[in-house]
Amino acid sequence: MIGNDRVEVRKTHKLFVGGAFPRSESGRTYEVVNTQGEFLANVAKASRKDARDAVIAARTGFNAWSKSTAYNRGQVLYRIAEVMEGRKDQFINDIKDAEGISNKKATAQTDQAIDRVVWYAGWADKYAQVLGNTNPVSGPFFNFSIPEPTGVVAAVAPQDSSLLGLISVVAPIVTTGNSVILIASMNSPIPAITLSECLATSDVIAGNINILTGDPAEIMPSLANHGDVNALDLTGITDPELQRELEIEAAGTVKRVRTAPKSPDWYATPSLSRLRAFTEVKTVWHPMGI
């Protein structure tokens, strides 16, 4: 046995873009501390250029992911849960450090986060049946409506729920076939970084989920006005002035914007609204006749 005096190997915390782990092109990092103010890690501080690179990766990821079958998407999501389960202890420690909560609470959050991924995995081949339908139009036509993915979504994870909140934002976005650029909680980014390591080994298509660490106030404006981003999920934006600024930028290409919920309860069973938020209903008509 190796003694307790072993010098541990520490990790460099990087971004997750296009299935790889780059440092910020800016070379910048910022210091993350625990709730007692003690040093935890130096974390990559993503720049606007990193965000633009992530959009390119996300678009590539979208083109592949949105074409995969619903059954396949469900399996990939379930695979994420499998890999997360194997890293449970790491998540629990990350959450304890990040949020300063008890082992019991951190365990409960991790369990719920993994179970939520399973919940959404099961939705992948069902939401279209619930959100879509045939329409009884008054004429000799067959008419049906189906939900399709909106495209590339830029999302801000909630600042306070470092794993469950993050999962609750990202899982529904990708369940419906979108790709995502997710900005982790600025003060508690380490569970998100651990998640990116799970994603890298979970059959997730490269670029489908991209995770940036850094300051949302710095990164988000360049995503909100980016022509190849289709929608914004501002769950983690609680500063009204920043929300306003991002919504103004979003109008440039008529982006769909989901704003922060008022008092989120991440432990409650989600509604369908997050699945619905980043889908587009397509309606197809065809005449009936012999």
């Binding site: 139009v137 036509f141 409506s145 289709n230 919920p261 409650a268 008509w285």
Partner: protein, 480 residues
Amino acid sequence: MTFQYAPAPESSAIVNIKSSNGLFINGQFTPGHGTPFKTINPATEEVLAEISQANQEDVDAAVLAARRTYDKTWSKMSGRDRGKYLFRIARLIQERAREFAVLETMDNGKPIKESRDVDIPIAAAHFFYHAGWADKLEFAGFGNNPRSLGVAAQIIPWNFPLLMLAWKIAPALATGNTVVLKPAETTPLTALLFAEICQQADLPPGVVNILTGDGETGRMLVEHPDVNKIAFTGSTAVGQAIQRQIAGSNKRLTLELGGKAANIVFEDAPIDQAVEGIVNGIYFNQGHVCCAGSRLLLQESIAEQTIESLKRRLQTLRLGDPLDKNTDIGAINSREQLNRIIDLTKSGEDEGAQRWSPDCVLPEKGFWFAPTVFTNVTQAHRIAREEIFGPVLSVLTFRTPDEAIEKANNTPYGLSAGIWTEKGSRILAMANKVRAGVVWANTFNRFDPASPFGGYKESGFGREGGVQGLGAYLTSEESS
């Protein structure tokens, strides 16, 4: 060969247009406080009536009336009873359908056969469809306890005045919201007639308020702090301005904006039917249709033959008096719109596309534009990129289905698309790949209250019609 028809005008005696019209606030017609303006018949340039301009004071009064009725009456009324008011409105529109059709044609310039057979019946159908939803909202898939939003501000365009009113008001009322609606400046008359319908239906005062006015009235309405929801149909530029105006306010928003739809015809399509669909796609309602099939994509092998058939068919279209039952192409709605069409078609010629129109005598008075086809159009031309909103078709060609998809999706818009082919698997594959909210396969420009309508990308967000359309006016208990 040209058939000669005797004129068959619908009589305008059925309508009784008041020379001066007020706003409809809290169940009463009241004079507006802004400077009145005139609405004209675009086919004759004759003044039809003087219309009130709502100013800030009027906007405040209308929103206050909508709020009070929402708080005291409408939000507390059972869905069953709300539904019965909507059924009444549907019936009243049916009963006065001819009056509505004639008035719409006079104020808008569209052919009477369209207002009579499309606009008015579908408007009535929208109220009938949504009436039945009012007491069944918990079954619509928005949670167990879907709730109304409050006061909805609704701004509609001039191309389908009553129909767009119905698309907005019917779902808003069915879901328990109250409404302040602003019709377009050039087409306010059927909205004011609808206000009379609200009175005849004994709809509680303040549930529906109608404010006439220009864009400034619309701006004041959008910015009013006591408005919970904004629904807008119109240009992408104005939609973007609204999105910016309400940024940070947490007002709910749905936008139904511009389009530049591709109508894709494959070599195995039934060409005669496709030609009818092409004509219906771009010349219906003078092309004043956001989902118009304004870009015709023809497979190369059948391009020449199809263009020839199309030109032959266009020779038979009858342009003229919109009240004449034989008229196919009516008047352009306004001088402003006519100038825009003229400007864009000129750019088409300047940029090298080839212009063609059938022999067609335009009336001396009024605003008219002959049906026009541009061939040799490239994707870079303005007439292939910008929404013309007129009877102008841009023809492009393609060789493979992949090329057709590339070209169809090469636009910031994504409202609608058409596919013409006899091959079922190709229809489904193309429908799957085209990024548009409504896809018509072997048909075009079909509308139904049960069928959701709305766009992808810069054509806006949210749906109108169908079960999905209810979501625009509901909120559910949401934990996260």
